[in-house]
Amino acid sequence: MNTFFHISPVTASILVMLFPLLAFITQALLGKKAISGNISLIAILASTIISLFGVFLPIWNETTVLQKWEWFTIGQHTLHVGILVNNLTALMQLIVCIIALPVHIYSRAYMKGDSGIHRYWMYLSLFCFAMLGLTVSLNLLQLYIFWELVGFASYLLIGFWFTKETAAQANKKAFLINRIGDIGFLVGIALVYAHCGTLDLSALFGQTGTFFTGVDMGIIPTLDKNVLWVTFAGLAFFLGAMAKSAQFPLHVWLPDAMEGPTSVSSLIHAATMVAAGVFLLCTVFPLFNETVLLVITIIGTITALSAALFALGQYDIKKVLAFSTISQLGFMMVGVGIGAWDAAMFHLTTHAFFKCLLFLCAGAIIHEMAHLKTKAELDFDPQDLRNMGGLRRFMPKTFICMVVASLSLAGFPFTSGYLSKDSIVITAYEWANHLGGVYVLIPVVLIIVSLLTAFYIGRIIFKAFFGSFKYRTYIKAGFTLHEAPKAMLIPMFFLAAGSLFPFFGPSPVDYHRSWIMLTLDTDSISPSLAQAHLFIPALLTAGAVLVWLIGWSWYVKQKYPLSENNVLVRFANKQGYLNEFNERIFVTGTLELSRILYAFDRHVVDGFTRLFSWFVRRLSVVVYWFDKHIVDGLVNLFAHVTYYIGHLVRHIQNGQLQAYLGFALTVVVLGILYLIIK
C-alpha cells in the first residue's frame, strides 16, 4: 500500500481535483447517455482515497508542501499557479471529499428517474472539482478562479429544475448576490497585489510570510497592519466571504437556494460553497487587523442571531435547515473574528457532517412525502412541516439519524457539535472577558443563539416525527410511507457516525484534545478561564434540555401558546421582511432609477438629438434650395444661353447646298456694301 502512495502530496492533491474534472468532461461528452452517475461516483471515490492517504495523512501535523509553476508574465511581474498543501488545505480538501462521497451515493437513489439526471452528475462533478481546486490553490488569483467556478456550478445546481419559476429566480438571486461578494474579493486581491506585489498565499500568509511575521519582501520596509489599506483589504476579503458564506445581510440567497435538489443543498451547505467563505477567511487570517476582526465578529453575531430567529418561523423543513446553516456560519465567523480560526475550522468540519446528515434526512422525508403525494393524488407541499407528523413510526432509521444530527447541531454532549460549538462559545467568552465592557454581549448572544438552535431543531423533530400524521386517513386507506432505500441510508449512517465525538477526539467533553484543535492550534490572546469550561457547557446543555421540554409541550402536547398570525411569528416567517426590504429598496429602486434614466435618455438626450436633427434637416433644405437655384441655376443659365445661341445658328447648317450658296452670296453682298459704305 505504501508503495502506491509514494507519490508526492502535491501530485496527489492535483489528482484529487483532476478526477472530478475528468468525470465532468467525460459526462459532458457522453451527454444524455451518462445517467447512472457511476463516473462521478468512481471519480469522487478515487479522490477521497487519494485525498486521505496521499495528501492528508502525509501532510497532517507534518509539513507544508508547495509547488509552483510559472503561469504568465506581465512586464516585470510573473504570476505563478501552484499547489499549497498544509494542515488547513489538506483538511479542507479531505472534508470536501468525505462529504461529497456520501452525497454522491445518496444522489444515486434520490435523483433516480429524474429527466435531467445526466446534467445533475455533470454539474455535481464540476462543483466538486471547483471546490477541491479552491482548497489547494496557492495563488489568490487561482483561488479566485475556482471561487467563481464554485459560484457558477452552484448556480447551475440551484437552478437544476430550471423550468420551475422559483428555481430560476433562486439561482439568479444566488448568482447576483455572490457577484457582490466577488467584487469584494477582487478588490482585496487587487489591494494586496498593489501593495505586496505578489499573490502567493505562502509568501503572504505563510509561517514566514509578509503578514505573519511583518517582515518585508523588499517592497515595503515594515508592514504596519493598522494602515488603512490593510483594513480595506481585510474588509474586502470579508465581503467576499460574506456573500459566499451567507452572512447578514447578504444571506438572502441561501434560503432561496433550497429550490435545488436536496442532495445539492446538503453539499452546498455542508462542505462546498458556504464553507469556501470561512475557508478563505482562515487562509488570509494573518491579513486581518483588529478593526476588521471586530467587524467580522459583529457581523457573525448578527448573522447567528437573526438567522436563528428566522429559523423559528419557517414551515418549510429545508428553509429551517437553511437558516440553521446561516446561523452556524455566523458562529464560524465569530470564531474567526475572535482570533480562534482553529475553532472556526473545527466547527466547519463537525458542522459539515451533521448538517449534511440533516439535509439527507430531510431529503429522505421529502422523498417519501412526495411519493405519498403522487400515489394518493393529493395536493400538498411535501416540504411543509405542518403536513408531517408521527413519521418516526414509518421511518425509524431516518428518525435516529435525524436525532443524532439534531443533538449534534444543538451541541449536546457526546456529539461533535458539542465540542466545536463549545470551543467557539468558550473562546468568545474568554475573549470578551479579556476585553471587558460591551464585548460580553457577544458570548451572551451566542449562548442565546445556541438555545434558539436547540429549540428550532427540536421543533423540526417534534413536528415531523412526533404527534399524529396529517394524512393518516390515507394511511388507513392503504397508502403507506416507507423507510428510505438502503442506498440513501448507508451514507446517512456514515454521516451519523461522523457526528459523534469519537470521530474527532478521545474526550467527549474537552475540545482541546480534538486532533483538529491540537494541530491547527492558534495562540490565544486571552487567558484561559477554567470556570468557563465548566459552566458554559453545563448552561448550554441544561438550556437545551429545557427548551426541548418547552418544545415538547408546545408541539407534541398541542399546547401551542402563540397564534399563527402573531406579529413575531410572521416577522420570523417572512425572514424579517429582508427580502421585501431588498425588493423595495434595491429592485424597485433600480427599476425607478432606470425608468428615470430612460425618461432622461428619451426626452433629454434623444430630444437634443432630435432637435439637432430637425435643425440640420431645415438647414439642409435651405442649402438644397441654394444649391438647386443659385449654384445649379448659374450653371444652367450658362448652358441655356449657349444652347440658344447654338440653336439660333444651327439652322444655317442645314445641308442645303443652295442655302449655303445663298449665305455666301449674302456675305459677299454685305462685304461689298461695307466696302461701298466705307
Partner: protein
Amino acid sequence: MITLTHFLVVSACIFCIGLYAVLAKRNTIMILVGIELMINAAILNFVAFGKYDKVNYGGQVFALFAIVLAAAAVAVGLAIILNVYRHFKTINPENIHELKD
C-alpha cells in the same frame, strides 16, 4: 452707240439670272445651266473688256479658254449629277442634305 456699260449691264443681268437659277432652282440640271449662265456672263465681260487690248486680244483669247473650260466643267458636272442621281434616286437639291451635321 453701244458702250461698254451696256455690255456690263447685260453681263450683270445674265449673271444675276444665273445666280438666281443656282440659288432657287429645284433641279440640279437647271443649277448647272445657271452656272453656265454665270460663266457666260463672265466671258462676256472678258470680251467686252477685250477692247482695251487690241494688240494681243487677250480678253478674247481668255474667253475662248473659258468656253473650253466651261464645256469641260459641264461634262464633269453632268457626270457628277448622274452619279448623284444613281445614289440618291433624285436630283432635287432639297432632298440631298448630306452636308448637314
